[in-house]
Amino acid sequence: MSVILDISKIDMVFPTPKGPFTALKEVDLQISKGEFVSLIGHSGCGKSTVLNVVAGLYQASKGGVILNGREVSEPGPERAVVFQNHSLLPWLTAYQNVELAVKQVFGRSKSKAEIKDWVEHNLKLVHMDHAMNKRPDEISGGMKQRVGIARALAMQPEVLLMDEPFGALDALTRAHMQDSLMEIQAELNNTVIMITHDVDEAVLLSDRIVMMTNGPAATIGEILDINLERPRERLALAEDPEYNHLRSEVLKFLYEKQRKVEPISATKSTKESTKKTTEVA
């Protein structure tokens, strides 16, 4: 299969008051069209940074990202992002949230009726057509994330980027969402990069699992090919020796090779510490 996305030897260095901090070092990854790739690693290892560089929200300090032969220099709808906390606009309904994206991307090429159809089609795809006119605060966390996915899918991205899309959901909802995502993936065959720290989720959904070493200067440790047949069935796989072997491979990487010893109190990830609140008063 042809390589659609080339993450080419990227370094990411953040300036901090204590001097430059190297978050990523020589991250190199090629992704084929229609491939589902998971990035897994301990928190703070820079998974999100990789995704943000691909999204164009960050600029790599060295190296670059090439999508379809063109270098990525800014964010754009061809690399739609599903954010961890859904990030729907709270003042718009589910329909309007998706519509905003559709109008922005297809405003010129689609007619009004086509836009309406396309918005509804995508909401139907994530089984949210029954709550189209509800605002985010009126629907559950899982439903919000569905709308977030519908919004991203509606942009018809060449690569769909998902930043721990189900991380904030409870286990049952998460399993349900994973099944939905597999269903959608079987239908649309998108190219997906998903960040997760759920081992089962990674094995269940992915074609390849990219395991990252611990930061600073995190990079790709190992890549695991998941050749389980699709469609995959959660219950059947639980007994499957191949599945369990793959699962233990990931666990071994995370808890033996990249064992992370952290004092209990230091749970703040670097992502949080870079967030700054600006105040004028």
Binding site: L57, E74, V81, F83, W91, E279
Partner: protein
Amino acid sequence: MNALQLNNPQFKSILQQATNLIALPLVGIAMFLLIWSMAADRIDTSLGKFPGPSQVATQAVALYDEHVAEREKAAAFYERQEKRNAARIAKDPTYEPKIRKYTGKETFFDQIVTSLITVMSGFILAAAVAIPLGIAIGLNKKLNIAVNPIVQLFKPVSPLAWLPLVTMVVSALYVSPDPVVPKSFLNSMITVTLCCLWPMVINTSVGVASIDKDLVNVSRVLRLPALKHVQKIVLPASIPAIFTGMRLSLGVAWMVLIAAEMLAQNPGLGKFVWDEFQNGSSDSLSRIMTAVIVIGFIGFLLDRVMLQVQRVVSWDKAGAH
């Protein structure tokens, strides 16, 4: 009512609500009136005893009667004028009738209307300047750093300190033989504007600067153009903060306006208070006290109105209380 009904939990909760909503505030007001009338009796001023609730109530009625009487006088004046004009036209068809305005004294209610118009015009003018400026400052960090010292410097200045300057500038620049609005109105309005400006600029810019970063990223991924970004993301996201600023400044504006009207002798409630004080009749203190209560009540109503507007405009119903 039998015992069963009294013990009904639903009945109990209704009773509790009634107590909280009606009974307790009434008790508070009654206590206040009691302490007020007791204290008033003991204070002797050069204008007689300090007015108690009953004197104030009497004067409130008197002020209303005066207002009605003044309106009747005005109506009679216009009627006489019309008759006179009609008579002259009957005599001489080429005569063009002149309508002279009634120049009676402004009543308490006229002053209330004047103050309300002044405060709202100043407030709207301030919002028209402050909200776009606040958005620009909130969006642009460099602009923020550049403007911040000026905002911080002028924020603590009492708008009354500006009043003499405003008065002089208005009389120098606003020269027209037939002014659309009186100079005194402009002075008061600009003073109100100056005091509304800062809380609105600051709150808007803080609201804009603290928009959830994910929402900004959504806008970036969608490649929303700058204007659309402001319209679709920034403005709705900062509506709660903008309204906080508007309510703060309207409250301050109302206080400042009364003081400005007293100081500059511009028409309005402040002038009413000052005139009564200068008048020094035995009723003056009661009338001033009436004005004080009315000023407080209007201030309260203004805030309620803003709150209602916020409830209609804002998506964040939880923030509007």
